[in-house]
């Protein structure tokens, strides 16, 4: 199948491209920019005038909910939502039921996603069995079955000796470890950032030290073991500084942030709206400023959705009794574009944080429009305004605090492996 994407503004930070040109796709591969290859006959023409053409987005943290929690979302519903949001590669968390700790589950998820054919799904494996923090999961076997990284999620491995061994073992096989840093004793049964708003609302707070202590401990053990490490969804300004200091010491650690932590603060929880019950929690304006600064200086290189779809019941209870997380796949791009609108970063730099940067973190071949690469492409109208309604969301999870808001930037077409997997 031959596709030509005509007249769009083609932006690819890896190729230093930012120009209006035609992009040619042949049999799943990007074959040319500007000039058609010889004897190229297009089967399909996509009119991309006044639109941006960029690599398909890569989301570093998505909860697919399948297997095990299909009342909240399925691989079908969530990968369809992903491509509607311009995301062609999803890194998915291991907290399914059963947990991703056997090759069978890792393969099941990838097979199901491949059969559906919307987005590429890359599982993260459990770092310890049952995510319980006691026994190593079979990391090598899981990696052979397609797991791109290993994490214990927010169940920090309490015993530092066990954590050390996990990191040593991962380093043995040159595997990437992803930390969602949180000290569980300090986080306790907290449900929001510990500060004046939590004090006023009488909600139990999660202090910033719940994150920073765990970031510090992990950084020291990363340094000791030399493991490839990535810190996901930082929420505190001090975490950014800890990562920055470690990088200055020469540690090759990377970090990402959720778009919601770049835009919102804990003050949103006023009124007990459970849509703002998030994990990591929304933090102070100072933290938000620190995260934004971290993005500008390059300490944080990627932005993710931390997509956590829920059924309506999960959010219908008093705040602390609700389940944390927001549905974020379809708002990742438009919300991120607001950072360009706010003049925090330029559009090509933003696209880098959503494409090439996460690909580098994972060390995968994706996130580029380079000639010869697989044709994962996102085509969006940066000026289109639309209102976020539950009906507008393809995700099974309608749990987003942005419902009712007018968003700017809308995906019009998504290609995965040279196939049109979404078209508005």
């Amino acid at each position: 199948m031959n596709i030509v994407i005509q007249g769009g503004r083609v932006i690819d930070p890896t190729q230093h491209w930012d120009e209006v040109a035609d992009l040619y796709v042949q049999d799943g591969t990007i074959v040319a920019l500007g000039q058609a290859p010889e004897e190229f006959v297009a089967d399909e023409v996509i009119d991309a005038r006044d639109q941006v053409v960029c690599p398909g987005l890569i989301d570093l943290c998505t909860n697919l909910r399948e297997p095990g929690f299909t009342q909240k979302g399925t691989i079908a519903s969530e990968t369809a939502a992903a491509v509607a949001g311009g995301i062609t590669t999803l890194v998915v968390t291991p907290d399914t039921r059963p947990i991703v700790e056997t090759a069978a589950v890792a393969e099941l998820i990838q097979d199901r996603a491949a059969d559906l054919g919307f987005a590429r799904v890359l599982p993260m494996g459990a770092l310890t069995q049952g995510l319980a923090g006691e026994q190593l999961a079979p990391l090598h076997g899981l990696a052979s079955s397609g797991c791109v990284a290993f994490t214990n999620m927010r169940n920090a491995i309490h015993n530092s000796q066990t954590l050390l061994r996990c990191l040593e073992y991962a380093a043995t096989h040159d595997l990437l470890v992803v930390f969602q840093a949180q000290d569980n004793a300090l986080a306790g049964n907290g449900c929001m950032h510990d500060d004046t708003t939590s004090t006023r609302l009488g909600l139990v707070g999660i202090p910033e030290t719940a994150e920073t202590i765990e970031v510090s401990r992990c950084l020291l053990l990363v340094e000791q073991t030399g493991v490839r490490a990535h810190f996901g969804q930082l929420s505190c300004e001090r975490s950014v500084r800890l990562i920055e200091a470690a990088r200055e010491r020469g540690l090759q650690v990377t970090a990402d942030v959720t778009i919601q932590n770049l835009l919102l603060t804990d003050e949103c929880v006023n009124g007990f709206n459970s849509a703002y019950h998030l994990q990591p929690p929304l933090r102070s304006p100072l933290d938000r400023a620190g995260l934004r600064q971290g993005l500008v200086t390059g300490t944080i290189t990627a932005i993710c959705s931390d997509h956590q779809p829920h059924d309506p019941i999960a959010k219908q209870a008093p705040f602390a009794a609700t389940e944390p997380g927001m549905s974020g796949l379809e708002t990742l791009l438009p919300l991120s574009l607001s950072l360009v609108e706010q003049q925090l970063i330029e559009l090509p730099q933003l696209i880098e944080t959503l494409t090439a940067a996460p690909a580098r973190i994972l060390d995968i071949d994706a996130g580029t429009l380079e000639i010869g690469s697989q044709a994962d492409i996102c085509i969006f109208d940066p000026a289109a305004e639309w209102t976020l309604t539950p009906e507008a969301l393809r995700s099974a999870g309608k749990n987003t605090p942005f419902l009712g808001q007018t968003l700017k930037g809308q995906v019009n077409a998504t290609l995965m492996d040279g196939r049109i997997v979404f078209r508005r």
């Binding site: 500060d195 004046t196 006023r200 003050e267 949103c268 219908q316 008093p318 602390a320």
Partner: protein, 335 residues
């Protein structure tokens, strides 16, 4: 961009009348003063032979207590009965929600009984807000205590007690003593004292029992009783739950009593005419010495009496706000 709306707007009608009573925070001073004035008249009435008024006649008040409390439940029940309402008391075992019935299911069942008012106590902060947002617009919600968040009728009965003994609020220095961290009473008291213009509000507690940045609520923080109680007009003690000893917040009761328990020696630092209050039930020898609790400066029993009057005032105000809103809705439908 992306900012939340005023969270407390929900408790007022568009023309500023009370229709739910969820938190003191955000309510105007005039409204609090009106509640106190109305409550004052009910205090006087309770000393008469006939103690009933027909303000809620024909209305049904459902007391929904998801957390046990004999005292608060009985004062709300008595208040509703003195307003001539029909009263339904429901002690709802929170484990029923664990059996799969959600709070929303419970509410829908109760709505079908056509109550006009829910008086709600729940262990989760924000539960009263949640209920107010999810019941039909025809039900007024009164917060009888939600988690650590608010206990607004308790704070108002404390304000009534202070006003009846001290008159004006402005010249007063008030100290709140004890477990501020876990206390919905303290939070509501602070909002009420601030709104009513009290000169100085102090909290006195060890750091383990102080929530983060409590000073942002407009209080001065003291960790010792001696400087904290110096020259105060009003001392508001809080109840200490025994389970605090098990979570490394405090070593034991006797050390707490030694440092923060109110006895005659510590009371001497306060002004000579300082009064002592406690929301009850009292732990004698933990928060307070019996001689102080039962002494001439203690207003603890006045608080109980005033509690009924304040709850009558709040219920009648919320019901009238609710009724005026219902009329508007009917008029809108007809138009």
């Amino acid at each position: 961009m992306f900012e939340a709306t005023d969270p407390n707007a929900i408790q007022l009608t568009p023309d500023g009348q009370l229709r739910h009573f969820l938190t003191i925070e955000g309510l105007p001073r005039e409204l609090l003063t009106e509640i106190l004035d109305t409550a004052d008249s009910f205090v006087d009435m309770s000393q008469q032979q006939v103690k009933k008024v027909p303000l809620l006649r024909g209305k049904t008040v459902a007391n929904l207590f998801f957390e046990n409390s004999t005292r608060t439940l009985s004062t709300f029940e008595l208040a509703a009965k003195r307003l001539s309402a029909d009263v339904l008391n429901l002690n709802i075992n929170t484990s029923s929600t664990k059996k799969g019935e959600t709070l929303k299911d419970t509410l829908m069942t109760l709505e079908a009984m056509h109550s006009d008012m829910f008086v709600v106590r729940h262990a989760d902060s924000g539960a009263a807000h949640f209920i107010a947002q999810h019941v039909t617009p025809n039900v007024a919600v009164i917060n009888a205590g939600d988690g650590r968040h608010a206990h607004p009728t308790q704070a108002m009965l404390d304000m009534l007690t202070i006003r009846r003994h001290k008159g004006a609020f402005e010249p007063l220095t008030v100290a709140i003593v004890g477990d501020i961290l876990h206390s919905r009473v303290a939070r509501s008291q602070i909002h009420a004292l601030r709104t009513l213009g009290v000169g100085e509000i102090r909290v006195i507690a060890p750091k383990t029992l102080l929530p983060r940045h409590i000073e942002a609520l407009g209080v001065k923080v003291y960790t010792e009783m001696t400087p904290g109680l110096r020259d105060v007009d009003v001392i508001m003690m809080l109840r200490l739950q025994k389970e605090r000893m098990q979570s490394a917040l405090l070593p034991n009761e006797s050390e707490f009593y030694k440092l923060y328990g109110l006895n005659r020696d510590k009371l001497a630092y306060a002004k000579p005419d300082a009064v002592v209050m406690h929301p009850g039930p009292i732990n004698r020898g933990v928060e307070i010495e019996s001689e102080v609790a039962d002494g001439p400066r203690s207003l603890i029993l006045d608080q109980v009496t005033n509690g009924i009057a304040v709850r009558m005032a709040v219920m009648s105000k919320a019901m009238s706000g609710q009724l005026s809103q219902r009329e508007e809705l009917i008029q809108e439908e007809q138009a």
